[in-house]
């Protein structure tokens, strides 16, 4: 537990919950701000990662685990997902080009 939650050990979960809800509301309202599409995407993806990190770190206690464990989980998921994405994305352009012909 962090120093701030020594009084009430459950406080970290309430604070995380509130932050997650605030971020969710911000994500829902983002479209109303009529920001450029690329910026909206960036905004949503960034906050998605923040939410995932908070759930993994605080609810799943990954930030209190052995650092190697946290690295195994984070790199295992992120690197493999990026490899999948990198192999799949270029193919979508090929498919689109073929269907446009």
């Amino acid at each position: 537990m962090s120093a701030g939650s020594e009084g009430n050990p459950y406080k970290v979960y309430w604070v995380t919950w509130v932050i997650l809800l605030v971020i969710t509301v911000a994500m829902l309202l983002a479209e109303e701000l009529h920001m450029p599409r690329w910026f909206l995407l960036l905004f949503l993806l960034a906050f998605m990662m923040v939410k995932a990190t908070m759930i993994g770190g605080n609810f799943m206690h990954l930030r209190h685990e052995h650092r190697q464990m946290a690295w195994m989980v984070a790199t295992g998921l992120l690197v493999t997902s990026l490899i999948l994405f990198a192999f799949i994305t270029p193919e979508t352009w090929n498919v689109l080009a073929r269907s446009a012909r």
Binding site: W17, G56, F59
Partner: protein, 205 residues
């Protein structure tokens, strides 16, 4: 000398030590399972991205298809149940099994409410004409992506609920150690974590 101590440190972690990664084998295996299950969803989300980007027909407009406030309510329910689960895990660790059981029950109620909401959402979409291969709003791949992604997630919520109900019953009978609640909690948080990605990539983007 330094090499020898490094080898000894590695051995302590990897050569059958009682706590690889400084965690019990149950927790380590649960994390490995979570990574592999996460990769399943990663593949599904990449497949969805592929279908969406490669579709020559426009992807359905989310505000036309979904009730976004309703999806927001589902998200609220799942995040809240995750918070109760984290509280249950800590209460069990601190030896307060009554509080752990109470929060486990809140988590189960939240999970059941989420599944109920998902059933309502599916019913509405099916009633409006959404099928695996067609829908009235745009690209036909939308239906397959939606039902596959949310269906897989829903099946995880369902299995998580079964695990939580068994854990709650065994906690009430004082048969589940705190670590059992922690393992169930890791799985439940994973279900919440996956929803964060589905919510953003499918409902908001």
């Amino acid at each position: 000398m330094a090499e020898a101590s490094h080898a000894a440190a590695l051995e302590a972690h990897w050569q059958g030590g009682v706590s690889p990664f400084g965690a019990t084998w149950q927790k380590t295996m649960m994390w490995i399972f979570i990574v592999t299950d996460g990769l399943l969803f990663s593949g599904l989300l990449c497949g969805y991205g592929f279908l969406r980007m490669a579709s020559p027909l426009p992807w359905p407009d989310r505000s036309e298809v979904f009730s976004i406030p309703f999806i927001a309510l589902m998200t609220f329910i799942l995040i809240t149940s995750s918070m109760f689960m984290a509280t249950a895990v800590l209460a069990a660790r601190l030896g307060d099994m009554r509080k752990a059981l109470r929060n486990l029950i809140y988590t189960i109620v939240g999970g059941a409410a989420f599944l109920g909401c998902q059933a309502v959402e599916w019913s509405h979409l099916i009633h409006d004409g959404a099928r695996l291969t067609s829908n009235p709003w745009g690209a036909p791949q939308f239906g397959a992506s939606f039902f596959l992604l949310t269906g897989f997630h829903g099946s995880h919520v369902f299995s998580g609920l079964v695990i939580l109900i068994i854990t709650a019953i065994r906690t009430a009978q004082r048969k589940t150690p705190p670590q059992g609640i922690e393992m169930a909690g890791l799985y439940w948080h994973f279900v919440d974590l996956v929803w964060v990605f589905i919510f953003t990539l499918f409902y908001l983007v």
